[in-house]
């Protein structure tokens, strides 16, 4: 099976500091792949390079055969990639319902419709998505006033609204309590399997990662030092030295 997402020779520097060093990755359709690494390893930069928020200095990123380098984020979304952000990135003064509704409107290309009332569009699909991530009860609340954990769930709903085939989640459980983490990861896994999505996510909570990832890549100082199935990575001496040697386990 040819790769759905193919990254080769990716480089990115900021004023002399190398954030991404010769990164290569191949993602098969339907795969659940985790990118792990300590803080500062370059995980978010890596995501930004894929989703068009940053332009790589060198290297290729292609999705289902299409070259992504140079495309702006809004075009990349339309190709079937969706992403959540590490820092909460929602519409604070809109309601939870409207947050998702807007994503659906944009996905259907209806943002140019000056006549049909916004609030009446995609009501069912929005309700479904909110149900899926467990926010049905909070639909009428102002998004900015939700708890952190619920805002992260909203992030996920917004990402799913663009009906992606590839889902990129940047630290989906950051800042959550252990129960919230477990619940979130379980629901993410269920959604991904039910919809046949491909999932690429970053994390530094080991329990989360070894729980659901089918393949893991380890990022260290912008470079991938190991990549493969969970057991192989867990036992890789380099990974052990770099990751587990730095202050023991996480989570």
């Amino acid at each position: 099976m040819s790769a759905m997402l193919s990254i080769a020779g990716l480089w990115k520097s900021f004023a002399g500091f190398v954030a991404t060093r010769d990164v290569a990755l191949d993602l098969k359709a339907g795969e659940v792949h985790a990118v792990i690494g300590p803080n500062g390893a370059g995980k978010t930069t890596f995501f930004n390079l894929i989703t068009g928020h940053l332009r790589p200095d060198k290297g290729a990123v292609s999705f289902e055969g299409r070259d992504l380098v140079g495309l702006p984020p809004q075009k990349i979304v339309r190709l079937g990639i969706a992403r959540s952000f590490q820092r909460i990135n929602i519409y604070p003064r809109l309601t939870v319902f409207e947050n998702v509704q807007v994503a659906l409107i944009a996905h259907e290309g209806q943002q140019w419709n000056l006549f049909r009332p916004g609030r009446s569009l995609h009501r069912e699909a929005t309700a479904e998505l909110l149900e899926l991530v467990g926010l049905a009860a909070e639909a009428a609340e102002t998004a900015g006033e939700l708890s952190y954990g619920k805002q992260k769930q909203l992030e996920l709903a917004i990402a799913l609204a663009s009906q992606p085939r590839l889902l990129l989640l940047d630290e989906p459980t950051a800042g959550m309590s252990p129960q919230e983490t477990a619940a979130t990861i379980a629901s993410v896994r269920d959604i991904v399997k039910a919809r046949g999505l491909t999932l690429l996510f970053t994390e530094h909570d080991m329990a989360v990662v070894f729980g659901i990832a089918e393949r893991i890549s380890v990022l260290h100082h912008g470079e991938i030092i190991a990549s493969g199935e969970p057991d192989a990575v867990r036992n890789d001496p380099e990974v052990k030295r770099v990751y587990l040697g730095e202050g023991g386990g996480h989570g």
């Binding site: 809004q74 339309r78 990135n89 604070p92 409107i105 944009a106 996905h107 943002q111 419709n113 916004g118």
Partner: protein, 309 residues
């Protein structure tokens, strides 16, 4: 359904206004005409401020273009109102589209300053093109059709046009387009990442704002039977900006209340004291230090407090 409540409320307001002339006061009718015009002007500006989150310092440009164009077409070229008014509005919209194309490439204060620069250019043209616009003497003696010469009939005409304008803006602001604009205001980065071309949306909003601003300007010119270059100066832009901020930018009707409140306050204050600036300054201080969401925010807080007890 809240929609129906708004519809009923608006119908009542329009009805009450329609009955106003029966009170027999010319002063009241004139004041109401002015308030209606400013309300439309303020609403149009809020399409930029409240709905895209940018501030325009140069909205008076489209007000002036609408006003001057309508005045010139009616008077110099003897066009019937039926053609002059739409033509003026379209012209204002076109200029807004051109100016907006350049302005939306920037954001925040740079955007605001660029809108100001273009507006002052419009002012400069109005100032220099004396043969057409009358320069700093103004363009006076606007020819109105016979049936609008009487102040009551002009009031009804304004009421009808403004009501139609407000209704159109309501539809636009509550459409899928409007909701998306609000998303752009709330989080432009996120909006970009659900597939929205934020620059183009802001451009469209700018054009809509300029179009309806031009409509307000055309009415203004006809009402005063003249257009003056002060109407294109940045002070006019500042005035309408304060109206919008006073009324509250986060609701659709906020600017209407802001326009009414500011204009009425100004008119009454000017009768008693020359120190209107001090009064306005104090009002602004109160808003900033106590009422950040404007008058609408105050109303919302009252409602919330009443709901709790």
């Amino acid at each position: 359904m809240p929609q129906r409540r708004y519809l009923v409320a608006s119908a009542i307001v329009v009805l009450l206004l329609a009955l106003l002339p029966l009170a027999g006061s010319r002063y009241a009718v004139d004041l109401a005409t002015e308030v209606l015009i400013y309300a439309l002007f303020a609403l149009s500006l809020n399409v930029i401020i409240g709905f895209t989150g940018n501030i325009s310092f140069g909205h008076a440009a489209y007000f002036a273009i609408g006003g001057y164009a309508c005045a010139i077409l009616l008077t110099t070229y003897n066009w019937p109102l039926l053609f002059a008014l739409p033509a003026a509005v379209v012209l204002a919209g076109l200029v807004a589209a051109v100016v907006g194309y350049f302005c939306v490439r920037l954001t925040q204060i740079y955007f605001a300053m660029l809108t100001l620069a273009f507006a002052m250019l419009v002012w400069g043209v109005a100032f220099k093109w004396k043969e057409v616009t009358g320069g700093d003497d103004g363009f006076t003696g606007i020819k109105l059709p016979e049936m609008l010469a009487h102040h009551v009939r002009f009031f009804y005409f304004t009421l009808a046009v403004v009501a139609a304008g407000v209704a159109a803006l309501w539809v636009i602001c509550h459409s899928a387009f409007g909701l998306t604009l609000v998303a752009v205001r709330e989080n432009a980065v996120r909006a970009g990442f659900i597939g929205i071309d934020t620059r183009r949306m802001r451009w469209a909003a700018f054009t809509v704002a300029g179009t309806f601003g031009g409509l307000a300007g055309a009415l203004f010119g006809m009402y005063h039977r003249g257009m003056y270059i002060e109407n294109a100066y940045w002070t006019e832009s500042a005035n309408v900006l304060i109206m919008v901020l006073l009324g509250g930018i986060y609701s659709f009707v906020g600017p209407i209340f802001g326009a009414a409140a500011l204009h009425l306050l100004q008119t009454f204050t000017n009768q008693y004291t020359p120190y209107w600036p001090t009064v306005l300054g104090l009002i602004l201080l109160v808003i900033v230090l106590v009422l950040p969401d404007g008058l609408i925010g105050l109303a919302a807080r009252f409602k919330a407090r009443r709901g709790k007890t």
